[in-house]
Amino acid sequence: MFSFLWKGIIRDKSRSLLPVIVVAIGVFSVIFAYGLINGMMSNMIQTTANYQTGHLKVMTRAYNENRGQKPNDLALLGTDTLILQLKADFPDVEWTPRISFGGLLDIPDDDGDTKAQGPAVGTAYDFLSGNNKEAERIGLEKAIVTGGMIQHPGEIIISDDFARTHNVSPGDEVTFFGSTMYGAMTFSNYRVAGVVRFGVSMLDRGAVILDIEDARLLLDMENAAGEIFGYLPENHYDTKEAEKIKTEFNSLYVNNTDDFAPLMLRLEEQDLMFQTIALMDKIMIIMGIILIIALSVVLWNTGVLGGIRRYNEFGVRLAMGEEKKHIYRTLLGESLLIGFIGSVLGTITGVALTLYLQKYGLDYSGIMDDVNMMIDPVIRSKMTPSVFYIGFIPGMISMLIGSALAGIAVYKRNTAMLFKELD
């Protein structure tokens, strides 16, 4: 039976070529779109993790209640000990403290009076301890427009927008004015080390970057930090692993009623990430269903066309005594084979393109100037095991459904009329 169907498909190309092409294109499209969306999602998650959430984040319970405001008065104290504990308990995770702060950046004239000033939103990273990959993680080196990285205490990096608006260059001295974690006024002079442009207007509008030790001095936060970020091995986010670490850590403080006890959150539990990921998952499912329906309709049409073209063949077979049921079954068998061939071809080309885009990516930075989301301007596809079946199964099913729908016509043939039709 199989060899009969196979020979039919190979020898009569007009019977198989069009459906194979349609299935292959459909499967290829599904895999390409899936890989790309997966890559974009992964890109968005990783970028958000790098800048905002970490894969895991530790803060005080009180800080967490108002975390949108980054309230440094509710920050973690004794962070050195806490980080040591985290490193001992979860040695594979990279733990790094960060502080967010706000204030006013003031540019002095020659007399030390205000020449220009503007509001500034700052983030302090651990650059100078040399114990982590913070600069690499936030893509700082690539983002520097002029000047360089923070190499010494007392240096600051400012945004390109701020530098242009207020005519500030690397080497200039600026004063940051804000509040300490205890609410006291705080002032500090810094030398501008570099000017950065991340290509994301949210970051480029009045952002300043400091080394964490300078921020601690500025904000009176010795051995304190607003948040401790955790990054899983190879910077790869794994929900199950993150959940395991979170549960284990939080269980240590279950009986602690202090508002300032540490609390760990996973990436999805912050900044509406859970909702975003759930939404993206739903979009993927809807896309898959739409593609299956669209493919089935196209293949049904192809099947109908094939059925019309093979009208005489079915008539002869019926006239020769072949049962309608048998013809229908061979039609379905044929469609399974065609679906298989098309799906294999589509999967091979789809996977190849996905692998290519995973390595080289698509750079769309030119259209990102006004985008406020923290997304890497290079889209990369992402290869996952599901790429191998996400298009393959719909390809097989849609071909089968298409042929099954078209093949119903076989049952409508009137045997008594066959010879008249054949005449």
């Binding site: 009180a62 003031d106 009076d113 205000t114 300490t180 205890y182 609410g183 006291a184 006024m185 002032f187």
Partner: protein, 244 residues
């Protein structure tokens, strides 16, 4: 008809009398609170969720246009100076040797993490100059009978569009203030107490400010020493004095 006209006249007369009374009340409040010059030593205690801080300072004020404050303690704030000349304000920080102008939205920011904003610190005008008043009732606060007066801004550049103040009927000192935004939203509540006679006037020596939009227990402002109408040398109110 005559009765109705009579009633209307009576109502109008009563309303104008109340308005006149209210204006007189806040004028007498101004007489207590405003002075040609003022030298104040004070302690401001800011209550945070974790701890409280007390900041002491000495201020020199002339009329409602010139003011100079030097922070005396704690160590981190010591030597920080604030100068207000008309509608401009500067801050001097000894650690950076910089004089920074405070303007725009910064004026609405909290001073030293307290419940007071720079705008609150700058506002020194007489109530009669910036608000029109109406008497809305009488209430008792801490055993003192108070007029309840509604103040509505009659100039544009005020931080609070309306205020409700409870004025001690005997000493003409507000014992409570509620400060409202243009939208009607209550922004701050001030409780004034420890009213003492200083020279010929009454003055509240303790004020508790509460920014109702902020968590926390509020900010206590305690006046430890106050002198009125003493001559103050003019050079104090210059930018040069900030660095001295």
């Amino acid at each position: 008809m005559k009765k109705i006209i009579g009633l209307l006249c009576l109502t109008f007369f009563a309303a104008s009398t109340f308005a006149q009374d209210a204006e007189e009340i806040i004028m007498r409040v101004d007489n207590n609170l405003s002075a040609k010059s003022r030298i104040v030593e004070s302690e401001m205690t800011v209550h945070g969720r974790r701890s409280s801080r007390t900041i002491s300072s000495k201020s020199y004020t002339v009329g409602n246009e010139k003011s100079f404050t030097e922070y005396l303690s704690p160590a981190r704030e010591k030597g920080t100076k604030m100068l207000k000349l008309d509608k401009e304000m500067w801050l001097y920080s000894p650690s950076t040797d910089r004089t920074i102008m405070i303007s725009g939205h910064m004026l609405r920011q909290s001073v030293m993490g307290s419940d007071l904003s720079y705008e609150d610190m700058m506002e020194d005008r007489k109530l009669t100059d910036i608000y029109s008043a109406s008497l809305i009732g009488e209430e008792t606060i801490e055993g003192r009978v108070c007029y309840v007066v509604q103040l509505t801004a009659k100039v544009n550049d005020v931080a609070y569009e309306t205020q409700k103040i409870w004025v001690d009927t005997g000493r003409f000192i507000p014992l409570k203030q509620e400060l409202y935004a243009k939208s009607g939203q209550l922004l701050k509540r001030v409780v004034l107490s420890d009213v003492k006679q200083v020279s010929s006037r009454w003055y509240p020596m303790k004020m508790i400010y509460k920014d109702v939009l902020k968590d926390g227990k509020g900010t206590e402002w305690l006046i430890t020493h106050i002198e009125f109408d003493k001559p103050i040398q003019d050079h104090i109110f210059s930018k040069a004095s900030l660095k001295q």
